[in-house]
Amino acid sequence: MAKPKKSRTSAPDPPKAAARLPWQPPAPPVPTALLISLAALLVRVLVSVGPYSGQGAAPKFGDYEAQRHWMELTLHLPPSDWYRNTSDNDLAYWGLDYPPLSAYQSLLHGRIINASLPEAVALRSSRGYESPESKLLMRWTVLSSDLLVFFPAALWFVWAYMRGGIGITVEERREGWMWLLAMVLISPCLVLIDHGHFQYNCISLGLALGAIAGVLSRNELAAAALFTLAINHKQMSLYFAPAFFSHLLGKCLKRKYPIVEVMKLAFVVLGTFAIVWWPFLHSYEAALQVVSRLAPFERGIYEDYVANFWCSTSVIVKWKRLFAIKPLKIMSLSATILAFLPSFVQQVKSPSNLGFLYSLMNSSFSFYLFSYQVHEKSILLPLLPASLLALKEHQMYGWFVYFALFSMYPLICRDQLLLQYIAVLALFFLIYYSPGGRHGKRLNISCRAKVVLSLPFLCSLLLHVTYLQLEPPKRYPYLFDALIMFVSFSQFVILTLYTNYKQWMLDTHSRSVGMKKDL
């Protein structure tokens, strides 16, 4: 072992050495990635100490109970009964409404919990089971899923992104990756929803992120398989489907044998689907039963106060009263298609890695804003590609994260996660503005634009306080929820217009800059 000579105590260039952050180069990359991952995991562990949705709120509880109930069901019932109303499976009480991969995941976690705490997942008798131990075990299942799915996907993505050098300078390539990794991993909304509120978005988003990394590193088939798995974990991953479809189609069309390429992808997708759906493929009815559970149209075009088009405009146009479910379905479908069509066309025409990331954001935003039955938590889907674009769209990402969190503020308050909300939001922005970061390229915005931009920000600050402190007027008990929704909605519309514009400008930009970089 080489024992280095005792280095002199006087560093030759002290000011520079002193201000250098420990994780800046020449920090070894692998330990640095490990450090960032550990820190991100630490934050998740800390958030998981807090309360979960529906804690102690009998008789319906919340998402925590839903997940626990699914573990109970999948553990004790045969797959054929998972999606059917039987004497043991009351679909009205948190019936399983996610695709089969979610059910398998519940089964796996149910087995783990069953091994150490069987009464927490006992059939029927465990309804509403809550204890410190079971909370801990449930939390650990989310933490481990996050660690096993989302973290590797994020690392793979950052590696692929940096190797591809997508839309960034050499300097950013050398130093920016750590910041990007931190941004992807410490996404405050994802942390709060998964480890505070209690869901397993980390799995479906992690699989989708893996698929994105696959696309960036030119493993299209792996990407197709991973994305199919993501869809099969949560149908909401379909928000990304137009982007994947258009990008892969556009790429295939550029190749020598487009038909063969498309066939290969189709084969992988169908094959993955077949494997996941195997227990339900023995009869048409069984498969249809599952599908009908996945698309709960009877629940209406929106629930609660979600910052999308239908809910925000319902103040003026009473969509639910004016139209039946069927025309609403058609309207929302056509609106969604219209919204993602520009980005779709752009990717078919000239698929590029950067354009793909923009397209992911645009298509998921179009679903969030216009599709049927959207939850406030679905904002996580547009947030994922936004975080991936963080190096390129620094300002936009910070702005988006803030308002995405804000749009979930009523939910957070219901879950009593305010403390965690404040801490994670502050931590995120501390890392976002970490010292020594050169990512704060100042936008040259005029004074008037600044005033216009800061207006919604001030509104949101005000609403944060009023929502907690003031009693809403008796006539409008959800006045503040609605105001929060309006502010968030306006910002989301501006954001998606901006990213659509950016995606379309990519072509003209790359043409003018020249193709040197893409060689």
């Binding site: 280095s7 002199r8 105590t9 002193a18 250098r20 420990p22 450090l35 800390l46 801990l136 650990w140």
Partner: protein, 510 residues
């Protein structure tokens, strides 16, 4: 890039504060009840009753400045809830009380931040590396003890660092006064007093002629005396000297705390056990002491079967003896640049040989040592090992399942931070010194921790694995204290190494 690491340190503190907020709902120990009671006591009752009130079992046993500090923290409390500061305190506190007390801890850490910001410049007026500062602010041991277990060490360490800052900058009088007020806040720091005395005497008073020296001696003496008077005079006036002394120095408590701190006495007790066992095997008649150390509660010290009994005087003499080389150095060549090292060493001696040492006392030297951990590679190596050992030895404090992942993640994240930071720092420095560019940093990596150190640290993982998984399988419910003893013993090895390393370093290099 900014030339100063101060904004970065403030940033690190803000990030740490977010973590502290997230730690609010975690487990709290009886120390929480202690401080809750003190807060109410100092607010509700006049000073005359502070050291006599017995309405709670958690009687005030810190010196008066800490009581004043409690009183200060309790001032805004009635705005939150008047019940917070009423004696007797409610049995189970509502969340608002917990929140308030946790926030007072986070708030009082501002003292630590202030000292760290001042310490951004070292004795030679050079910038300290940002990492050295953030190692203080992000110390997992401090987070665990203050923000989970519940104590106010951040404030106390802040005072200690403040006095060290003054000494480093050559403002000896201020350093002495601040140290005196630290003593009046928590008297455990008395162990550093000999070094302070020796250093201040030589550096402040001597070498400037007799008259001036005497004048300075009087000045320093009156400064320190004024601090002590401010703290103790009211209680002398009330005639509570005896009462106060008994509260502050409860020698009836025994050599070791319920959970043995990983120090010299662990080995002494173990040796005693082994000797007793061997002698009995050889046919000697060895009386087995009634209460066993393994029983968890140790009330008095006459528990050794073979080895001589240990008294407070013995431990005191041992501490002084261990400190002698350092005192000699401080006497012969008092230099500001070594003061952090000397004071840390004095605290280490107190920890290794002291009477009734708590495992938490390892904070008193790991925190100051963090500041000088980047001075050279050897310091970095030593700190890397010491800090992991000291943090791991605190693990038994947080014994509930909910905090298990938290403590493990805190330690792992910190270890990774040290690894990345030290490696890149020394790689960068060797780059700047024009040495062969060390692209992978491999020599530094090998150098940061040798194979012995690495296997020692892996041994920690093995011990943890044993106590968490296999102990239950092998012994069932028998020998419940064996894992704790293993932790104490194993960490004791690291602590003894650290003590000896510091001793050798001080003898050789200062």
């Amino acid at each position: 890039m900014a030339a100063s690491s101060s904004p970065a340190a403030a940033w690190a503190f803000a990030a740490a504060t977010c973590v502290k907020l997230l730690l609010i709902p975690t487990y709290w120990s009886t120390d929480f009840d202690v401080h809750r009671y003190w807060l109410a006591l100092t607010h509700a009752l006049p000073a005359r009753q502070w050291y006599t009130d017995q309405s709670s079992q958690w009687t005030l046993d810190y010196p008066p400045f800490f009581a004043y500090f409690s009183r200060l923290l309790s001032l805004p409390a009635p705005l939150v809830d008047p019940n917070l500061v009423s004696v007797p305190v409610p049995e189970s506190p509502p969340f608002a009380h917990l929140l308030y007390l946790r926030l007072t801890v986070a708030f009082s850490d501002l003292v630590l931040l202030g000292s760290v910001l001042l310490l951004a410049r070292d004795a030679r007026r050079r910038q300290r590396a940002f990492l050295a500062l953030s190692l203080v602010l992000w110390s997992p041991a401090l987070l665990a003890v203050d923000h989970i277990h519940f104590q106010y060490n951040g404030f106390l360490m802040g005072l200690l660092l403040l006095s060290l800052y003054f000494l480093e900058q050559g403002w000896d009088l201020a350093g002495g006064v601040v140290f005196a007020s630290l003593l009046c806040s928590k008297h455990l720091f008395l162990v550093a007093a000999p070094v302070y005395f020796m250093y201040l005497f030589r550096h402040y008073c001597c070498g400037r002629g007799v008259i001036k020296g005497l004048g300075r001696l009087v000045l320093m003496g009156s400064g320190v005396a004024a601090v002590f008077a401010a703290a103790f005079a009211p209680f002398v006036y009330y005639g509570q000297v005896k009462q106060l002394f008994d509260r502050l120095f409860p020698f009836g408590r025994g050599l070791c705390h319920a959970y043995w701190a990983p120090n010299f006495w662990v080995f002494y007790i173990m040796l005693d056990k082994v000797l007793a066992f061997l002698l009995r095997r050889l046919g000697f008649n060895v009386a087995i002491p009634e209460a066993s150390f393994t029983g968890g509660l140790v009330s008095n010290s006459s528990l050794f079967a073979v080895l001589p009994k240990v008294t407070p005087i013995t431990t005191f003499l041992l501490v002084i003896l261990a400190m002698t080389p350092c005192l000699f150095k401080a006497f012969s060549n008092p230099q500001p640049k070594y003061i952090i090292r000397w004071v840390s060493y004095a605290c280490t001696c107190g920890f290794i040989f002291g009477w009734h040492v708590h495992e938490k006392a390892s904070l008193h030297f790991t925190i100051p040592l963090a500041l000088i951990s980047m001075d050279n590679l050897n310091d970095a190596r030593h700190y890397f090992l010491l800090c992991i050992v000291s943090c791991y030895s605190l693990f038994p404090l947080l014994f509930e399942n909910q905090e298990y992942l938290i403590k493990v993640m805190l330690l792992l994240t910190y270890a990774a931070l040290m690894w990345v930071g030290f490696t890149s720092h020394f790689a960068a420095n060797s780059d700047q010194e024009g040495k062969r560019i060390n692209r992978s940093g491999s020599t530094v990596q090998n150098g940061l921790i040798g194979s012995i150190g690495l296997s020692y640290l892996l041994g920690i993982a093995a011990i943890e694995l044993w106590s968490q998984v296999f102990h239950q399988r092998v012994f069932g419910d028998r020998l419940p204290f064996l894992p704790l003893i293993m932790v104490s013993f194993y960490c004791g090895i690291g602590m003894m190494y650290s003590w000896m390393w510091q001793l050798v370093y001080i003898v050789r290099h200062t």
